[in-house]
Amino acid sequence: MYTDKVIEHFRHPHNMGKLDDYSAIGKVGNIVCGDVMWLYIKVEKDEQGREIIADISWETFGCTAAIATSSMSSEIAKGKTLDAAIAITNREVAEGLGGLPPVKMHCSALAADALNEAIYAYLAEAGREIPPILARRHDRISKEVIALEERYRAFPEAEESAT
């Protein structure tokens, strides 16, 4: 079902954990639907004065594909300028892993969305102008969160916590 590359990233995930000193965080997914990713980025200026993702890390609740795409997307984004990082697509993440089963493609979308949200949060917090593509995606992601909550309203709430 999974490629060797997916298994490799699942078993030895890169950039996993929480950064001590991060510039922004992108939180996507919903625990009731089984996928959550928190992405931390540290933005710094490179020698040419361009803003780059100097460091990146993530924490993910999810299946094998969700964990592997978290790892792969962080690898792709690391060291990239913000503009280049914005351009990263979920297809690129999936291709980096040698492909994903069709039913798991949404996991790669989760990783791309988390990156989008982290950069959005960074620019928004700094009061900077948000590139239109970033703003559009942010709108879509926010709408999806509402749709998910709607969809799972019928399911039982977290009535009790585990012992």
């Binding site: 060797d4 298994i7 699942f10 078993r11 995930p13 996993m16 954990g17 939180k27 625990i31 009731v32 639907c33 089984g34 996928d35 959550v36 990713m37 928190w38 924490e59 993910t60 609740f61 999810g62 299946c63 094998t64 594909a65 969700a66 964990i67 039913v103 798991k104 799972y152 399911f155 039982p156 709430e157 977290a158 009535e159 009790e160 916590s161 585990a162 012992t163």
Partner: protein, 432 residues
């Protein structure tokens, strides 16, 4: 070439001493020219198989050697069609009818009450649809919310055909309320279908009491006994219809049966040569039936001993897994099949747990959404009203007659590590 084989075997052995899962990876990465040698591959697979721990016996079981042995002649030497009049056919029929008697004995039934099918999915379909055809005026069905898909989806389809279905709620342990059942039965109720032991959480239903209520109210009672048959004694005096599958009890896949109590109204849903007294057409799967009888013999012969052993494993699993923080048992601690134990682990997802355990050669299953084709969590766990986040982190461990104490210890050694590894990755930390 020989040198290559020896090197590969040596590598595999040494890897096997390390992490079990790496062995399979190394087998999968065997150079192409070696994978062309089928004998080498099967040789490596044999080594690989020996290192596996199979704890998914609710999904299916290994066919026992004595079952294979009993079946073997019926593929080649005794291949006659049981409907034929010549010697080949008569010998086959004789063997098949002997199997029918043996199986009937295990249910304290008469041979005429056993209808062989292609498995329990067909048996469940036959029970519900066949009874509906025989009593077309009764347009109401009652099932629980935790029935197997072969009952649940059949009833959902019946709804599209104008039937009304009552889906009984279950409590946190998976038990229905008998008063609610009693209250749900109406004049036009055709049948009540409640599984004897749940396939995901193991919870047992009081089938004697349910059957008595159905008798009293004059409705049919069907029970899906796929997980319970051959595992525990089944009191079926009040059961009208009962489904069994061979491959859950060390028998072959593709064969099962429906017990149909004498005088129970039932019409065939598969038409053709009028086999099985006109209740199920299609040439009987004789090797399969012989195998199912052999598997029943085996299971009933060692029932008490196996049950005691597996009950001990279940107790041990419940006690030791409870020691991992943020876990819960799904189902009932005691009113349960002894071979199924289902747990949830807070903050982590079931599919990744299954994959991590598979690295160590341990096979279990999950009711998580990510493992299902429609990305919905198991309907059984949802019906128990387990918080969705916990349903995603579920793990089903199902033991079998070949499970050893050492295998349980190995699982319990790796499981806390796997949980810890995934919790480190997860944003949801337990105890924070």
């Amino acid at each position: 070439m020989l040198l290559r084989i020896l090197i590969s075997a040596y590598q595999c052995q040494s890897v096997a001493l390390g992490r079990r899962g790496d062995l399979r990876r190394s087998v999968m990465r065997t150079p192409v020219h070696l994978t062309n040698r089928t004998n080498l591959v099967s040789f490596l697979q044999v080594i690989y198989m020996m290192k596996q721990i199979y704890l998914d016996n609710s999904a299916t079981t290994a066919v026992a050697p004595e079952v294979m042995e009993a079946m073997a002649p019926f593929f080649s030497a005794e291949y006659g069609n049981a409907s034929s009049l010549h010697g080949f056919g008569l010998r086959t029929r004789h063997a098949m009818e002997k199997s029918r008697e043996e199986i009937a004995d295990t249910l304290q039934a008469s041979p005429a009450e056993i209808v062989f099918t292609s498995g329990a999915t067909e048996a469940n379909n036959l029970a519900i649809q066949g009874a509906a055809r025989a009593r077309p005026n009764r347009r109401h069905l009652i099932i629980s919310k935790i029935e197997h898909h072969s009952v649940l989806h059949t009833c959902q389809w019946m709804e599209t055909q104008g039937y009304e279905v009552t889906y009984l709620d279950v409590d946190r342990s998976g038990a229905i309320d008998l008063d609610e059942l009693r209250g749900a039965i109406r004049d036009e109720t055709l049948l009540v279908s409640i599984m004897a032991g749940n396939n995901e959480i193991g919870t047992l239903a009081p089938i004697s009491e349910i059957g008595a209520i159905c008798r009293e109210k004059g409705v049919l009672f069907h029970t899906d006994a796929v997980q319970a048959y051959g595992k525990i004694p089944l009191p079926i005096e009040t059961v009208d219809l009962l489904s069994v599958s061979a491959h859950k009890l060390s028998g072959p896949k593709g064969v099962g049966l429906l017990f149909v109590r004498k005088k129970t109204p039932l019409l065939s849903i598969v038409h053709g040569g009028e086999h099985e007294q006109g209740r199920r057409s299609g040439t009987e799967n004789v090797p399969g039936i012989i195998g199912m009888a052999a598997a029943a013999r085996l299971s009933f012969g060692e029932m008490e001993e196996t049950a005691a052993r597996l009950r001990g494993y279940r107790k041990q699993l419940i006690a030791e897994i409870a020691a991992i923080p943020g876990t819960q048992l799904n189902g009932h601690e005691t009113e349960s099949l002894h071979h199924i134990a289902n747990f949830s682990f807070q903050g982590i997802e079931g599919e990744s747990m299954v994959m991590k355990l598979d690295e160590h050669g341990i096979a279990v299953s999950t009711g998580s959404a990510c493992s299902s084709p429609n990305l919905e969590p198991s309907h059984v766990l949802v019906a128990l009203r387990i918080p969705l986040a916990m349903a995603h982190g579920s793990l089903r461990i199902s033991t079998g007659r070949q499970t050893t104490a050492e295998e349980i210890d190995t699982l319990l050694k790796f499981l806390p590590r796997v949980v810890e590894e995934l919790r480190v990755i997860s944003p949801f930390k337990v105890g924070e």
